[in-house]
Symmetry: C2
Subunit: 193 residues, 2 copies
Amino acid sequence: MTEPVVGRRERKKAATRQAIADAALRLFLERGYDQVGIRDIADAADVSTTTLFKHFSGKEALVFDQEQDVDAGLVAAVRERVAGESVADALRRYVLAHWLPIAGHPQRAEFVALVDTTPALRAYYEQMWTRHTGTLGAAIAAELGRPADDLACLTLARFVLDIPALTSTRPDRRAAVETIFELLRDGWNERTG
Amino acid sequence: MTEPVVGRRERKKAATRQAIADAALRLFLERGYDQVGIRDIADAADVSTTTLFKHFSGKEALVFDQEQDVDAGLVAAVRERVAGESVADALRRYVLAHWLPIAGHPQRAEFVALVDTTPALRAYYEQMWTRHTGTLGAAIAAELGRPADDLACLTLARFVLDIPALTSTRPDRRAAVETIFELLRDGWNERTG
DNA sequence: ACACAAAGTTGACTCGTTGCACTTTTGGAT
DNA sequence: ATCCAAAAGTGCAACGAGTCAACTTTGTGT
């Protein structure tokens, strides 16, 4: 095994961060986002508010501590796709396999409910996705040997990243995802249902 | 001429609102968004901060006073399209005709620069667009005799509303818009440039 | 053992935004 | 003409998020 080179210092730092994130999520779920102040969280984690803000950029960031690397999975899905599979298909497979199950989890449900019912969090969450457009677009372009800022690739990336917003309120999320990917593959067709 | 039915009351209210918006835009352009406080604007317009917030929902809204009814034009374009024209074509025509020229205007340039260089304004602006997804999607669906929350229609609406974000940094914005509409019409094609 | 840097504390401060109690204005009904 | 209720505006105090500067504590490398 590789001995972790991290000393007590970094471990304590990570512990503090975790304590803050845990306290925040617990309080948010208990009382609701708007009913919890930064000072409440800081007190619960037994740190000062200044320390809290050295670990997290803002109140919203406390909620999304875990889901930082959204694009990593997408980029990997595009790069390590099976031979002959198109980029769009790889993305479709990844989305169906990784984005749908999350909503089913028991504890994830109340987390999703928290985000959905809090406008500030909805807004922050949506922006999280669109912020990854550049990364995913560049990855797609690289696979196809096009320039990193190729418009078509960026557009595909953006459209794929729109999927969560478009499907979140649908009764059958899987069918919704399929519908959107069909539209992406075949284009907008006025005459079919 | 049609005598304006508005009394002194509404006229004064409108004047106050305009004074606030003018003062705000002037100060923002002079010093930059973050260097201007709400109290500065209220003072410049000679009103109290309370009054200011009765006219505008927040600091960002002061900047976008003029471009409220984004969706009205889009909805009209879809509804009053020429016979036989597809919804997608109508949207393409409207976007090419109405969204492109704006960027060319002289004073509009520094306004755009202000928005582009201020993260808070960029975020607010992007959300303005996506907020119209429901309206435009419903309008498209109505034209095609589909349910108002038809997923394909909402998706098309969303994708069209993504266009400003995708094309704003492009050297040739017209070509960029055309490219995206081609992608929307024909679907994502891996093999063509 | 020592010195330096990173982590944390404290308290006051800025700034957007809201609430409350109050005055002024104005349109309409009597 | 007059009076009233609603709308518009004011002043001020407050709240919560986030920042700042000076200071203390705690690891770490030498």
